[in-house]
Symmetry: C2
Subunit: 344 residues, 2 copies
C-alpha cells in the first residue's frame, strides 16, 4: 500500500448539515462545488439528499452534470457562474438552474432556453459575481416577469462577525429585494452563524458541512492516515531532505511517509507541521517533497506503520495554520492518489 | 464554458526529453509520478514511449497500474517507494519493478515474488528513501545474487550546482556501487545538468520534461486559459473579494474569471500575481477564491473573453514565484476541473 488512506465520514457531513439546518427556520441547501470541497461530490450529495437536502450549489455547469448523474431527477442544482457561453446544452440536458450574473447572461439564457428555470445573483458589495444595483434596477421588471426561482448574493466578510461589511451587504441586499415575491438567499456557513436576519428563505452552507471553520461545532469529517515507507537512524549533524533543510541536533530516528505536495499537502507547511502516532505528536522535519514527507519519530516507543495528519486530533484548520492558509484550501487540495473510504 | 482550458503540448514534452537525452551518453528514462506531474500520466507516457523512452518511474505501485494499462507490456515501470506491505499483487499483475529501500522490503519482495525483477535504492545522504551504507554492506551480496536491474540514489541539492552536497553524494554513491556489474542511476533533471560524472547508466528527468526549472532551455508545455464570467465597474473606494482585500484607488474595471485555489491556483498567490490578455499584463486583485479570481482590466482596449495564467508569457516557475513555491507544485496541483486538450 503505497498511498495514504482518506476516510470520509458521511454521517458527520449529514449531522453537520442537520445541525446548521436546526439553527434556522428556512430551507438549508448544500454547497458541493469543487467536487464537494474535495471529498467527492457524488457520495456527498447522495448522502445529503437521503438526509433531506433538496437544493445543491456548484460553481460551474460541468460540475452540475456530475451531480445530476449522481442524484437523478428531482433535486435542484444551482450554478454560481450562471449561464456562460457554451453552457446551454448541458444546462438543458442536466436540468441545471444557472444563477444569472449579468444582463449578458440574462439575454443568453432567455434566448437559448426561454422556459428554463434560472436564479439571479446580485452583487451586494463583494464585487466578484452578480449584478450591480444599477444593472439590477434596469432589468428587474423583465427578469421578474420570467419567474426566477431564487435571488441570491454572497457575503465577503462573514467569517468576521463584527465586520461592518456584513451589515452593509445585508442592507444592500434588502434594498434590492424588499417586497419581491421571490425566495432570497444571502448566507453561506458564516452567514448562518450571523443570525436570523441573514437567513432569508434559504441558507447555503459549504465549509461547515465538511468540518471547517467558522463552524466551530462541526463534527470531524476527514481522517488522513499516511503509511510509513521506511525508518532510519540519522546521526547527529546529518541532514534530511531537499536543500539539506533539516539538521539532526542529536542521533534521531526518521520515518519517511508516502504523501507529499502532489497529494495536496501544501509545500508551505514544511517545518512546524505535526503528525500523530496514536495520541503522540510527531514533528514533520525537512521540506515536504512531491510524494514524501519525513518525520522525527525518535520519541516513539515503537515504529508506527502509519502517521495521521487529519482526524480528531487535528482539524483541516489546524493543518491550514501550518501552511498559512485556510481549511477550505486543505480540503479542496486533497489528492487523487488517496485511497478513499466512505463511512455511511 | 465555466471551466478553464489546459492545453498540454506533448510534442514539447518529447522535445524536452530528446534534448536532455542528447546531453548524455546513457539511457534517459522519464519520471511520471504524480499523474505525470499533473499533466496526465497515460497521455504523457504513450507519447514518450512512441518517442523511444523505455523506462518510467512512479512513486507508488498504484500509479504503476495506471501506467501499465496505458503502455501495455514492454516498457519498464520502476516504483520509488519499493515493495510496500500490500503491494505484492499489483507488482506481480502489472509487472512493476520496485526500487527496494530497506532490508524489510528486500525480504518481503524475495519471499513473495522470488523471481520478479527489482532494483535497489541507496541513500547517499538525503536520508529520505533508500538503504543506508551500513545496511547495504550487510545485504549487498545477497541482493546482488538476486540480479537487481538497477541501483539508484537521489540528490538532495541538484538544483544548486555549486552545493557541496552534490559531490558528497556522488562520492558516497560511488563508494557503494564501484565495481558492481549492475546499471546505476543518480541523476534526475538537476543531476543531468551537473555533467557526465553524474549520469552513470541512466538518467531520470522529471520536471525538465514538463517545462520547469532547473532546465532553463525547456520548451513550454502547459498553457492555461481561464474564461471571464463577467466584468464590472468598481468605483473608487469600493472593495473587491473576501475580507475586502482590494480597495479601488480609482474607478476600475474588474473581471471575474472561472478558476481558483480548488483548481490548484494556490491561494498564497493573491496580490502580485499576473495574468495575460494577449501580450498585455493584467494584475490579479483581491484574494484568490475557491473557484474565482478577480483581475483589474481597466487598461485593456476591450473586454477579454479569457485571461491566460500559464503559457509562453509566463512559466510554471513564474507562477510559483507569485505563491512563494516551486514550479513542481504548480504543475502537480493542476485541477481536475480543467478541460484538457493534448497537442500531439
Amino acid at each position: 500500500m503505497g498511498t495514504a488512506r482518506l476516510t470520509i465520514d458521511l454521517n458527520a457531513v449529514i449531522n453537520n448539515w442537520r445541525a446548521l439546518d436546526a439553527t434556522t427556520n428556512c430551507e438549508t441547501a448544500a454547497v458541493v462545488k469543487a467536487n464537494g470541497y474535495g471529498l467527492g461530490a457524488p457520495s456527498v450529495v447522495r448522502a445529503l439528499a437521503k438526509a433531506g437536502a433538496r437544493t445543491f450549489f456548484v460553481a460551474a455547469a460541468e460540475e452540475g452534470v456530475i451531480l445530476r448523474t449522481a442524484l437523478g431527477s428531482g433535486p435542484t442544482i444551482n450554478v454560481f457562474s450562471g449561464h456562460m457561453d457554451g453552457d446551454t446544452d448541458i444546462i438543458r440536458s442536466s436540468e441545471l438552474t444557472p444563477m444569472i450574473n449579468s444582463v449578458d447572461q440574462m439575454l443568453r439564457h432567455v434566448e437559448a432556453l426561454p422556459a428554463a428555470p434560472f436564479g439571479i445573483q446580485l452583487d451586494s458589495g463583494m464585487n466578484r459575481l452578480g449584478m450591480e444595483p444599477e444593472e439590477w434596477s434596469a432589468v428587474r421588471d423583465i427578469a421578474l416577469s420570467q419567474n426566477p426561482t431564487l435571488i441570491m448574493s454572497h457575503l465577503a466578510c462573514a467569517d468576521e462577525p463584527d465586520h461592518p461589511m456584513n451589515r452593509h451587504q445585508l442592507k444592500a441586499f434588502r434594498e434590492m429585494t424588499d417586497g419581491l415575491d421571490v425566495p432570497c438567499s444571502l448566507a453561506a456557513t458564516g452567514g448562518v452563524l450571523l443570525g436570523p436576519e441573514y437567513h432569508f428563505d434559504m441558507t447555503r452552507p459549504g465549509i461547515g458541512l465538511y468540518g471547517g471553520m467558522p463552524y466551530e461545532d462541526a463534527q470531524t469529517v476527514v481522517t488522513l492516515d499516511i503509511p510509513v515507507i521506511q525508518t532510519r537512524t540519522v546521526a547527529q549533524g546529518e541532514t534530511v531532505g531537499y536543500g539539506n533543510r533539516w539538521v539532526a541536533e542529536q542521533d534521531s530516528t526518521v520515518a519517511t511517509i508516502a504523501a507529499g505536495y502532489a497529494d495536496g499537502l501544501i509545500r508551505a507547511m514544511g517545518n512546524g507541521a505535526r503528525l500523530y502516532a496514536g495520541d503522540i505528536q510527531v514533528p514533520v522535519i525537512g521540506r515536504i517533497s512531491m510524494d514524501l514527507i519525513t518525520a522525527d519519530i525518535s520519541h516513539l516507543p515503537e515504529e508506527p506503520t502509519t502517521l495521521q495528519l487529519l482526524g480528531t486530533h487535528q482539524s483541516v484548520d489546524d493543518v491550514a495554520d501550518f501552511a498559512g492558509t485556510i481549511g477550505y484550501e486543505i480540503l479542496t487540495s486533497m489528492g487523487n492518489r488517496y485511497a478513499r473510504t466512505y463511512l455511511e
